[in-house]
Symmetry: C2
Subunit: 243 residues, 2 copies
DNA sequence: TGGGATTTGTTCGTATGTATT
DNA sequence: GAATACATACGAACAAATCCC
């Protein structure tokens, strides 16, 4: 049984240059950690030691605890009593649940947007895709990955529904963890033309087409993953093996 | 401007008889508070003083803090720095967002269930509705209210998707707060025949009908609320009033 | 305008628990 | 199997802020 706590011990949150005397607020720490996950800089299983985080962030253990608690509730870290926190490692089952949830939400979400298209929204979406393209041109892979996820978050924000927005933020972050764990070797992150297609459908006010494109897009992302083979977690029943 | 902190000061979590020496776990405290909200025993605006909760639950302030943090993340309590916690009072806007979210999730959810009907599930659902009927017969109003919400949670659980399950648990709890705040005077809680209709559609394997019934049901709940008139919150611009 | 009571926020020392050698 | 090192969990006291009178 692979413990979620047996990976590298050093905190993966690098401070740009030496010690950082600046003390970050609670929310800033949370945002930084979340962004690190989105950029695949914090990998699943990485231990998050309260003392280390407190020192690096110029904060205190009590505050770090709060942040970890919040991240745990967002399923981004797992909290084991008396053993501390580490970046979550979603199981195959959990990964499927994440995608099932996104399949439930996102097609309806873009359909809703397409049924009341606003030019300002389309504008923002196109600007975002332009950023994606720029990051792609620069070969800035962490940035590409983050922006790909943030496109979906942006769609949620444009609905104006903050609950939906938060949900999708969590789901995208978890998706990033899933991708780091189960990505097939040769994967071109989230082809951007699919994003543009969705925008086109929204601009055209074609709700059912937008929904269909999103369904296809999600399906496509899921297909770049190896959620079938039991890699990563081995629920092998040793007892049965020797019976 | 009505502050969310100006309601009754006494904690509304009654211990059955005198002091309770038993010390509850963190999760138990959370469950109890959540259930109290579901049963309308904790009303919006009720202050939640850490010391009081700690004593009643036989716990410590530190633990209570964790529970409150979690409840805050579930939007069941609002946490104001240096002023403590109180049961959340969703605004009209937030109420609309809750229903929008439920409209997004629940029709697709029951459609999914209806497309792969299992007799065991139908059984559990019917048993639940029977409990609702029993509570109705006894006139146990808190129980009726709680069970009505829990029907929707049960549907989510039957999908086997824990993320969806948690989402709906949160949404239902928030709906309960919304109902206490904006219910029109004469409201018969959630007519149970609508629940039965949904079950029938699921059993019959009629996905689109199940979805349609759920849409109708949600719409019906929303219509028993007074989300149009600006009661409760008065965003009156006093400056404009005297200009 | 001020003072006292109440409640939250923080800190520190210690205890407990886990993993390792 | 025992001892050690390490990190989390706990408890109490102190400090700061808010509310009410």
């Amino acid at each position: 049984m692979t413990s979620p706590l047996d990976s590298g011990a050093s905190a993966a949150i690098a401070s740009p240059r030496g010690r950082r005397p600046k003390s970050l607020s609670n929310d800033e720490i949370h945002a930084k950690l979340q962004q690190a996950v989105l950029e695949h800089r914090l990998k699943p299983g990485t231990r998050l030691v309260e003392d280390h985080l407190a020192e690096v962030a110029g904060s205190t253990r009590a505050r770090i605890r709060q942040v970890l608690l919040r991240l745990a509730h967002e399923s981004l870290v797992t909290l084991v009593p008396n053993r501390g926190a580490c970046v979550a490692s979603p199981t195959v089952e959990e990964a499927r649940e994440v995608f099932a949830m996104r399949h439930l939400l996102e097609p309806s979400m873009v359909q809703w947007l397409a049924e009341r298209p606003r030019q300002a929204d389309v504008q923002r979406l196109r600007e975002h895709v332009a950023q994606e393209a720029a990051a792609r041109a620069e070969g800035d892979r962490p940035r590409i990955i983050r922006l790909s996820g943030e496109f979906h978050m942006l769609l949620a924000e444009l609905t104006g529904n903050r609950i939906l927005s938060r949900s999708l933020r969590e789901l995208c972050a978890q998706t990033c963890l899933v991708i780091t764990l189960y990505d097939k070797p040769n994967t071109p992150a989230c082809p951007y033309h699919e994003h543009e297609d969705v925008i086109d459908a929204i601009e055209a006010g074609n709700g059912s087409r937008a929904a269909e494109l999103m369904r296809h897009h999600l399906h496509h992302i899921e297909q770049t993953l190896a959620l079938d083979d039991p890699a990563g977690e081995a629920p092998v029943d040793l007892q049965a093996l020797f019976a």
